[in-house]
């Protein structure tokens, strides 16, 4: 890659060609090379044109537009009236926004729980157990299933009277609540479902990482008298840290955009708005109440949050000795 840039870097050319008219054979070869490369540049440009154009049209332009729209009062159709930072100050005082922000953070409790479970699962499936391929498949099925269908069946499962969850609880003599209708249980219910849905994915990544830990390392530690737990804590766990990091970053980014299950399972945002997420509130403000300017301000706040979280996490990770290669 380095040689590519030195060949094609334009600033070098005038200096080497110099003010003198006579060209050394070397320089003539270089010029011929450049002519040759010109066609390569053109083809390469044609090949990357589509993603670049798509990026400019469907990402860069919308971001710039959103940044401006967030400073206006606008219903999406009519004129955009510039109002400065009014939308942002309004956000601070908006009880619904604060609630949906808090809910979105609350849902992230599920991330560490899910990762611990996935790690235990991966360790278990790494043992020579009969039927482990079939088990791995079963644990992975929720991952590939569509969230909309999953949300529908879980909404039904959480029904207070005839839902599966309370039916199972009743076998143990427990009278379950109407999960999605209570402020105290609606968020835990959604978290449990999210853990169930994502478990197979994290399990799979951990399994792949565990299997790439050199066996010789573990054997050497065993010879030195380290027990299974010590081997796990001082060898396996540090070795799979890149995967943990990857899962935390992607889970937080995905978690900050949680929408589908909220919208399907609690279409009104739950009792007292207790299940509404940021994206749920954005969609509601933008597409039901036509508060496009205000909703865009929220979407900018969300974008900044995601950006900051990502940057902070990459900074933190750089300090670790293990990083994503």
């Amino acid at each position: 890659m380095t040689q590519t840039t030195s060949i094609s870097a334009p600033p070098d050319e005038p200096r080497t060609a110099g003010p003198g008219r006579e060209l050394t054979p070397e320089q003539r070869a270089k010029q011929a090379n450049r002519r040759l490369h010109k066609s390569e540049h053109r083809w390469a440009l044609a090949f990357v044109a589509a993603p670049v154009l798509g990026f400019l049209l469907f990402t860069v332009y919308p971001v710039v537009f959103a940044a401006y729209a967030s400073l206006t009062s606008w219903n999406g159709l009519g004129p955009m009236t510039f109002v400065g930072l009014d939308n942002y100050t309004r956000l601070i005082g908006d009880e619904y926004f604060r609630t949906s922000l808090w809910n979105t953070f609350f849902y992230m409790i599920g991330i560490p729980i899910g990762l611990v479970l996935a790690m235990l699962l991966a360790l278990a499936l790494n043992r020579k157990i009969p039927g482990r391929t079939a088990l791995r498949t079963i644990y992975y099925v929720p991952v590939i299933s569509s969230l909309a269908a999953i949300a529908i069946v879980w909404q039904f499962a959480y029904n207070g009277d005839f839902g599966l969850v309370n039916q199972v609880l009743s076998w143990f003599g427990v009278q379950g609540p109407d999960w999605l209708a209570n402020t105290a249980t609606v968020k835990p219910a959604l978290i449990i479902m999210a853990i169930w849905k994502g478990l197979g994915y994290s399990m799979l990544l951990y399994l792949a990482a565990i299997q790439s830990v050199p066996a010789s390392l573990l054997e050497a530690a065993a010879l030195d008298g380290a027990n299974a737990f010590q081997r796990f804590r001082s060898i396996t766990l540090p070795m799979v840290r890149p995967v943990t990091f990857f899962l935390i970053v992607t889970n937080i980014i995905a978690g900050s955009q949680i929408f589908t299950e909220i919208n399907i399972m609690t279409p009104t945002g739950g009792p007292e708005f207790s299940s509404a997420s940021i994206v749920y509130y954005i969609v509601r403000q933008a597409f039901r109440y036509q508060q496009m300017g205000y909703a865009t301000a929220m979407s900018i706040v969300l974008g900044i949050l995601v950006f900051v979280i990502t940057v902070v996490q990459f900074r933190l990770n750089r300090r670790n000795s293990f990083s994503i290669e």
Binding site: P51, P62, G76, S145, A149, A157, F162, Q257
Partner: protein
Amino acid sequence: MSRRNSMGVAAQNRLVNGLVLAVLVLGAVVMIAPLLWMFTTAIKSKVEVFALPPVLWPDVPQWDTFTRMWSEAPILSGFRNSIIVAGTVTVVGSITSSLAAFALAKLRLPFKNAIFLGLLSGLMIPFPTIMIPQFVMFAKIGWVDTLLPLIVPLLFGNIIMIFFLRQYLESVPDSIVEAAKIDGASYLQIFRVMILPMIRPAIAAQFILWFMAIWNDYLAPILYLNTESRQTLQVVIANLNVEFATQRDYPLIMGASFVALLPILIVFLIFQRQIIESVALTGTKG
């Protein structure tokens, strides 16, 4: 090796494996229970759905749920629309993505790394941030309530796929490409004859993952599609959930949701190996 004799270790191992297996099987039951329940509910009668004590398997399975839902709900058009969207996007998008990956990995292009990093930065921008401007854009050209806003932006390629294929191509020596150029092969020929066969497994894996993602997408389709016959499958079943819940026709809702899962489930079971390997690779290679 250790102070215990080897027979003891083996026996202990077997005991632990037995216990682990029991826990795993129990966990597997929990994982699969909601989906099984979805299926059994679909073939229950309306009375059995609400029966107490609960009915686990219906006395007379109502298989007609799976036939009547096609006429009572727009599931067929949902299927058609989802196939149109996911099919067009993944086929065209895979071609544009692999051409771009080829250029970014193996061709000379000024500011190549800057272009690549620029594209990658797009991954940091969440869809909700740009969905309102995109929606307004498409509203202005009259594309709302058509499938076009779901298709067109994605035809320009998938950055994750480009990233993945570019990584894959890094292992291909530059000299092979240079030799082909000296032999007078055009860049399209090099791509078609040399590069494409090499990256085909990677494309296939990414293709399936992308297809699944679009098939299962819900947020963008629900913003754009209002008319029932133009909705994708996920929107159709989500609307059924609202509409038929008031009629207490849970078998129909569950049947339709189950059918919506089936295509991806079948694809997964067939291509399990490739999908799992590809997912593991994406995650561990970051």
